[in-house]
Each structure stands twice: as structure tokens, then as C-alpha cells.
């Protein structure tokens, strides 16, 4: 196999961060190369340099042996490099063909040539097993289909190297298999693939070689067949990884949160939660799995008083709270770790201290009759900073100056600071490195032992399995079933994620 691409000592820094430090790697023709690394290891930065979206400070890109400058994405595509971003680069209000046609010269001059594109697109989609309706409008398509559009868009441009950035994050286990089948077909035709991921099992399942990144540097490049997941984990994190969370046996208490037949409408006016019922007990972790966008975020919002309930009821410790406002729920002991950290959890321009105390500010001892008590606030903040090991130059530093991990610690400190009775933890480890993830896990288990009722929403299946006592799955706004963790497995959960109800699965058992 000939060499297709070589990166030689690529260096890229941002103010205060060296994101890529002299990175070298190569990709051969028809090869599937996994680029493995934790969040923040510099994978996406490196690929953005390759795709012309960032300009490297130093280093050289060689394409088929020739040194190349890639000033913009268009240049990358003309060379034959395509990229499927984590956040799709599609125009949601346009159709599939219109999206594919963007940026291409039309065969009819100034007029659109959508029919021509549609014909070619159909051929491509049959050839590679990428099924999609060319006339569908993007925003109506499920994420899996949108991803197929992104791949088709790249293939239509006759790319020879396809970069996929964390492509499985938005897919069900079944869809992951379909994607991998497509990647194998591509590789069989000599198209090379760079797969950016932090999931070891994917690397093992699909790649020919792995380049491991850590802290912006290449740690090692190995043949996949010569390595083990254990070794890769070690390379990726730089130390032994303990995967297990020590979880004491379940001591289920009274019902803390009860949800009965709730319905709620999402951003686009469609029903996002349809007839959801479940109960959450003290001392347990109930994990909500599912592909992003199946109603989990709306559930989070409804439970925290951020979205109106159209029908149904919610009870907190037996008291009906269906239309309570967030601060009223908070008074009743409900805490929230929001999925969208920058949007909902912290005000980045305010200080660590202000952020940490914001949700407690109206109560004594932090304030009396509307006047703040700086001493009480400072004590709480000092205590939280040491308990949660928050690395900040000062309690008065703006949250924006902290790293993502430390920002999340601020969120945790604020949410857990007053021993909540019910905790809604949505994507609590999103964007955190392995070490910090482990700390968050331990902390959640501690809260569980203390008797808190925890509702965990996560798209990471491993996280769900490690922490939950029971696992619930949402699909298109409906609850597919709830299974105790010891009586289920990834297959069963995966089926539910794809829309097969738990009872249907049991029926089909021989």
C-alpha cells in the first residue's frame, strides 16, 4: 500500500494551550487509521489543520509525497480530503441534494442541476449502502441519516481520504455496525479513512492501525492486530486505568421522584416527550440511555422546571410539582447538573465564587432580606474549592479562564454543595478526561450511598452501565422500557435505542 498522506511535525497552539505538539503520522491507501485520544488530546485540532480550517504554526503536510498548503476546506476537498464533523456541516433547511450541490459547479451554468445530482447520488448511495432520500429536508432526518448525507457529500466530491470525527457518538449500536460496513467498503475501494475516536472497542473493531495522541503529542502508532484495548487505554491516559467503580449494594429507599404520563413539546413544536412514566427511589441511580435527540434533553428540562408540561404530573417526595419553577424545585432539594455546561450551568464572565453560590443566594446564611453575607459565601466557596479540588487562581477569577474540567467541578460543587435529595445529572462527564470522569463517578456513587435519588442522562453506554441500578431507554420521545442493570445487556439496550420495546424483545425470545 502506497502512502497517501503524511503529516510531518504539525504544531498548533492557541493562546495558553499547545494543542498539537510536533505531530507526525501517515495514512496509506485504503487504510483505516484510528486517531485515538481523550477529549482535549488535540485530535480535532489536528484534523482541522489537515482540512484547512486551522492554519498550523509549523510543520508540513504531504499529499501523495508532495508538500501541500491547505489554506481552506475547499482546497482540502479539491485534493480529495473529505471530513465529517462531529457537528454536521449541513444546512438544515435545505434538502439532501441541495446540500450536496453546495459549492459545486452546476452542469447547467447558473441554473441549479438538482436532478442530475440526484441521479448520481442514488447510484452512490446504492453502491455504498448509504440509504437516504435525496429530496428530504435535512432537519427532518434522524441524525444517523444526516451522517450518511455527510458521507455521501464527501463521496460525491470523489474524495480519497475521509476523516470522521467521533462519528459513533450519535448512533445506536446497530447504526454503528452499518457505518463500519460502509467504511470497510470504502477501504476496499482504496479510499482511506481517519477515524477520530476515544472509544477503544471501535478502534479494535474497525481500524488497521492506531495513532494514539495524548496532551497534543503522538504517544505511539501501532498495528491494531498487535495491540490490546488494555494497552491502548494505558497509552491514551498515560497511566493504569481503573475502569470499575466500586458501588455498594443497592439500598433502595422511598420514592423520591415520580413521573406520571407526562407529555411535552420540543423546540420544533413536535411532541418530544410522549406519555413518560417512571419512578425514582432514594439511594438509586436511574440511567437514561438513548441516542441524543430522542427526548432526553426535554426530560431534563421538564424535571428541572425549564420546560412546560402539556399533560401528566410530576411528584417530588409525594408533593405535586408539575408546574413548579426551577427555584421552587431547588427549595425542595432538587439539584441539576445541566447537559449544556456553557449555556446553562455556568455564567462564564462571572467569577467562580458567584457561579458557585448563584443557586443558593436567596437563602440564609448567604443572604438575609436581600443583603448578601460575604463571610458565609466565602466560607462555602473555600470549602467547595478544596472538597472538589477546583484549580483556580482565586475564587474571584472568571469561570471563562478555567479549563473545561474545572468548570465542570464548579458545576458539581454548586449542584452538590447542599446535599440534594434528588439530583438530575445530564451528561455529567461530557468533555472530561478519564481522570476527572472517574472522580465524577465516585462522587455520584457517594451521593447515592448518602441516599440521594439520582437520575443520570447520558449518551455514553459504558457510563450508564457502570453507574446505573436501572436503565431506561428513550426513543423518539417514548420510553422503550426500564431494565435492572444486572438483568440486561448492551444488545437489549441497543435494540431499545433503535426503537424496539423491552416487552417486544421478551416476546420474541424462544
Amino acid at each position: 500500500m502506497g502512502e497517501m498522506l503524511r503529516l510531518d511535525n504539525i504544531t498548533k497552539s492557541f493562546p495558553g494551550v499547545l494543542a498539537n505538539d510536533r505531530i507526525s503520522l501517515d495514512v496509506r491507501e485504503g487504510e483505516i487509521l484510528a486517531l485515538l485520544g481523550e477529549n482535549g488530546a488535540g485530535k480535532t485540532t489536528l484534523m482541522n489543520c489537515l482540512y484547512g480550517q486551522l492554519k498550523p504554526d509549523a510543520g508540513q503536510i504531504y499529499w501523495r509525497g508532495r508538500p501541500m498548503e491547505i489554506p481552506d476546506s475547499h482546497a482540502a476537498v479539491s485534493l480529495g480530503i473529505g471530513m465529517v464533523h462531529q457537528h454536521f456541516m449541513l444546512v438544515p433547511v435545505l434538502s439532501v441534494v441541495e446540500n450536496v450541490s453546495l459549492g459545486l459547479a452546476s452542469t447547467r451554468g447558473l441554473l441549479l442541476d438538482l436532478e442530475y445530482i440526484e441521479t448520481r447520488l442514488n447510484t452512490l448511495s446504492r453502491e455504498f449502502g448509504l440509504e437516504v432520500n435525496p429530496r428530504a429536508v435535512i432537519w427532518r432526518l434522524p441524525v444517523g441519516a444526516q451522517q450518511r448525507v455527510e458521507i455521501l457529500k464527501a463521496l460525491y466530491r470523489e474524495i480519497q481520504l475521509l476523516i470522521l470525527d467521533e462519528p459513533t457518538a450519535v448512533l445506536t449500536p446497530g447504526e454503528v455496525n452499518d457505518l463500519f460496513a460502509v467504511l470497510r467498503r470504502l477501504s476496499a475501494r482504496g479510499v482511506s479513512v481517519i477515524l477520530i475516536t476515544h472509544k477503544l472497542e471501535e478502534v479494535m473493531a474497525i481500524s488497521d492501525r492506531v495513532t494514539v495522541l495524548r496532551d497534543g503529542r503522538v504517544v505511539e502508532t501501532v498495528k491494531t492486530s498487535d495491540t490490546t484495548p488494555h494497552e491502548l487505554a494505558h497509552l491514551m491516559v498515560g497511566r493504569e486505568v481503573i475502569f470499575d467503580v466500586h458501588k455498594p449494594p443497592l439500598k433502595q429507599g422511598k420514592i423520591a421522584l415520580e413521573v406520571q404520563n407526562i407529555k411535552a413539546v420540543g423546540e420544533r413544536g413536535a411532541l418530544a416527550l410522549n406519555n413518560i412514566s417512571f419512578s425514582l427511589h432514594e439511594g438509586e441511580i436511574l440511567g437514561f440511555a438513548g441516542v441524543d435527540g430522542n427526548g432526553q434533553q426535554e426530560l431534563e428540562e421538564v424535571l428541572c422546571g425549564l420546560r412546560r408540561i402539556r399533560e401528566g404530573q410530576v411528584f417530588l417526595h409525594g408533593q405535586e410539582v408539575s408546574h413548579y419553577k426551577p427555584d421552587q424545585l431547588h427549595q425542595l432539594g432538587l439539584a441539576h447538573i445541566p447537559s449544556d455546561r456553557l449555556d446553562r450551568a455556568v455564567a462564564v464572565k462571572l467569577t467562580v465564587e458567584e457561579n458557585m453560590v448563584a443557586s443558593h443566594i436567596s437563602k440564609p446564611p448567604y443572604s438575609r432580606r436581600g443583603i448578601l453575607n460575604p463571610k458565609a459565601i466565602r466560607q462555602f466557596v473555600q470549602h467547595s474549592i478544596s472538597t472538589f479540588n477546583i484549580q483556580t487562581p482565586s475564587p474571584r477569577a472568571a469561570v471563562a479562564t478555567l479549563s473545561g474540567g474545572n468548570q465542570q467541578r464548579v458545576v458539581l460543587a454548586s449542584a452538590l454543595g447542599h446535599q440534594p435529595r434528588v439530583l438530575i445529572a445530564a451528561q455529567p462527564t461530557r468533555g472530561l478526561d478519564v481522570g476527572l470522569t472517574q472522580q465524577v463517578y465516585e462522587r455520584l456513587v457517594q451521593e447515592r450511598s448518602r441516599g440521594a435519588a439520582i437520575l443520570l442522562i447520558s449518551t455514553e453506554l459504558q457510563e450508564i452501565f457502570r453507574l446505573s441500578d436501572r436503565i431506561a431507554v428513550m426513543y423518539r420521545g417514548e420510553l422503550m422500557g426500564i431494565a435492572p442493570v444486572e438483568k440486561t445487556n448492551v444488545n437489549q439496550i441497543g435494540m431499545m435505542m433503535a426503537g424496539v420495546r423491552l416487552e417486544q424483545q421478551e416476546d420474541s425470545l424462544p
Binding site: 492557541f14 494543542a19 485520544g37 477529549n39 482535549g40 488530546a41 488535540g42 485530535k43 480535532t44 485540532t45 482541522n48 482540512y51 480550517q53 486551522l54 492554519k55 481552506d72 476546506s73 475547499h74 476537498v77 471530513m83 464533523h85 454536521f88 456541516m89 449541513l90 444546512v91 438544515p92 433547511v93 435545505l94 441541495e98 446540500n99 450541490s101 453546495l102 459549492g103 459545486l104 452546476s106 451554468g109 447558473l110 441554473l111 441549479l112 457529500k153 473545561g404 468533555g431
Partner: protein, 320 residues
């Protein structure tokens, strides 16, 4: 009461009234068709008010010196385009806030046009002696009974304004450029990654809005009258913006919006002229009242794209 009703009946049965609707719709419609593209490209453009005013003033001055209203109209377009270039530089290249920049330019234009006009013609009320744009009575069509006088006995700019609607519609939805413009406005980053030049497309569409708004301004000063007055656009740029929003950024919808405002404008003129016992200040309010109502009823069903009115920056700190 009965008297008032019969007066309204008189207005609505008069053919002149409908001719006036077309005439008064024209400047709003022209501006709307000119700026609908930059709107679709993601620029919130309320600076057309200032572009128009610059056009209106320039049209009179150029016509006065060169003797041809056609050259006056051309001058108006160019002058307004220069102003729109300034707007483009600010909002696209420097990345300033669209509304703040537009308001600043509008105030600038208001002051500058008055200043230049007074420098040239003095502060006296005497109007410069110029000929305005002609009226074209279209052959055959102009001789039709009833309709002929209403529709086909108008300034060429009236025809152009209404013709520009199907043209804009075709351009927006049937051509490559139209698609590119829509993509750039909706999801600039996605457009950028497929090689569309977001900055260039936005600048070009703003220049088009300037060019056309200049012509609409010329229509006010040398099309309907032969005079320039301080602030004579009287908010028509803003009203055109409202027409676009009302029409959900579709040329055909914006046409409906523009006609509604043209109608309101014609109505208030008639009410004033007839002296119907309604204080003229109330009559003057009518078009603006319509604007407020249109926005109230339209905005509820309008969904703005996240990128609308936002400066685009290519390189951001990428987070893994």
C-alpha cells in the same frame, strides 16, 4: 358615521386610489427586493433607510447638474452603493453589530444629505428646477379600459419594481447563486467548508441592496416629485424590512407585505386630502400602525436562523 362610510366608499371606488397604491408600493417593494438577498445571506439590513435617502438626494443633485433624470437615477444608485459598501465593511469585515451600524449609518445619511443639499441649493424653500423621470404609458396595455390607467400609465420604476418580484423569486430558488446565498445565511460554517466564500457573498448582496435602495430613493425624489426634502424617506427602509419579515424572507411574501404598506400609505394620503374630520396626524400614523401590526402578527410565525444578524468569524478556538 354614515358620512364617514360614504367617504371611504368614495376612496375605495376611485381608480386613482389604486393607481396611487401601485405608486406608493413601488419604493418599498424595490428596497425589499434589493435587500432580500442580503437578508437571506444572514445580514439584518435596516440601513436601507439611509441608502434610500442618499439616493434621493443624489438623484436631485445629479439631475440638476447633468440635466438628465436617468443620469440622476444612476448617480443615486452609485451613491447609495458607496454607502452600502461602508455598511458591508463594518458588518462583514470588521464584524460590528448589524443594528447599531445601520442606525449609525442612517443618522449619518440623514445629516449628510441635508448638509450637502443645503450647501448646493441654500436653505431657501425654492426647489431646484429639474425634470423628473417620465411616465410611460405602455402601448396597447395602457389603452385598456380601467386597468390601463391604474397599472400601465406609470413611472418605469413602478414596472421595474413589480417585475423584480418574479426575477428575485427565480434567482433565489432556481439558481446556484440563490442557493449559495441561502446556505450562507442559514449555516455559514457549513457553507464555508464546502468552499463558499461567506464574506464575499455577504458583501455582494449588501452592495445589491445599496444599488437598488438608491434607485428606490431616486423614485421618491425624481420619480414621484422633483424635490428632495430632509428625511423624505420617512421610514420606508424600515417598512421594507418589515415587509421582508412579514413575507418570511420570500420575495412573493414580501410583495404582499409591500402592497399592504402601499395601500396604507395611499389611504392616509386620501384621508388627509379629503379632510374627513380625522386629524391629519392620525392619518399619517396609518402606515406605521400597519407596520407594527404586521410585525406583531408575523413575528410569531417567523423562525430566525441562528446565524441571522451575527457576524461570521472563520477561525474559532476549536475544542476537542
Amino acid at each position: 358615521m354614515a358620512d364617514l362610510l360614504s367617504q371611504f366608499a368614495f376612496i375605495f371606488t376611485s381608480l386613482d386610489f389604486y393607481a396611487a397604491v401601485f405608486r406608493l408600493t413601488t419604493p418599498i417593494l424595490l428596497v425589499a427586493m434589493g435587500s432580500i438577498f442580503c437578508e437571506r445571506a444572514g445580514i439584518m439590513n435596516i440601513a436601507t433607510e439611509g441608502f434610500m435617502l442618499m439616493g434621493a438626494m443624489t438623484a436631485v443633485v445629479v439631475t440638476y447638474y447633468l440635466g438628465s433624470p436617468w443620469l440622476g437615477a444612476l448617480g443615486a444608485m452609485l451613491a447609495a452603493m458607496v454607502l452600502s459598501l461602508l455598511f458591508a465593511v463594518f458588518v462583514v469585515i470588521i464584524g460590528t453589530d448589524h443594528i447599531v451600524t445601520a442606525v449609525a449609518l442612517n443618522v449619518f445619511s440623514l445629516g449628510t444629505t441635508s448638509l450637502i443639499f443645503r450647501q448646493i441649493f441654500g436653505a431657501m424653500s425654492r426647489t431646484p428646477d429639474i425634470t423628473g423621470l417620465p411616465i410611460w404609458r405602455l402601448p396597447l396595455l395602457g389603452d385598456l379600459p380601467v386597468l390601463g390607467n391604474i397599472l400601465f400609465n406609470q413611472s418605469p420604476l413602478v414596472y421595474l419594481a413589480f417585475l423584480s418580484v418574479p426575477i428575485a423569486n427565480f434567482f433565489m430558488f432556481r439558481t446556484k447563486w440563490g442557493l449559495n446565498i441561502r446556505a450562507v445565511g442559514e449555516t455559514p460554517r457549513a457553507a464555508d467548508t464546502v468552499g463558499l466564500n461567506v464574506y464575499r457573498i455577504r458583501i455582494y448582496t449588501i452592495l445589491v441592496s445599496g444599488l437598488v435602495a438608491g434607485l428606490a430613493g431616486a423614485f421618491l425624489s425624481i420619480g414621484q416629485t422633483t424635490i428632495f426634502q430632509e428625511g423624505m424617506t420617512a421610514g420606508r427602509g424600515y417598512i421594507a424590512y418589515t415587509a421582508i419579515v412579514f413575507g418570511k424572507w420570500n420575495p412573493l411574501g414580501a410583495l404582499v407585505g409591500a402592497v399592504i404598506f402601499g395601500f396604507a400609505d395611499a389611504l392616509q394620503l386620501r384621508i388627509q386630502a379629503l379632510g374627513m374630520g380625522i386629524p391629519y396626524q392620525f392619518a399619517l400614523m396609518i402606515p406605521y400602525l400597519f407596520t407594527v401590526l404586521a410585525i406583531v402578527f408575523a413575528v410569531g410565525r417567523v423562525s430566525w436562523s441562528a446565524a441571522y444578524g451575527q457576524p461570521y468569524r472563520r477561525v474559532e478556538r476549536s475544542v476537542d
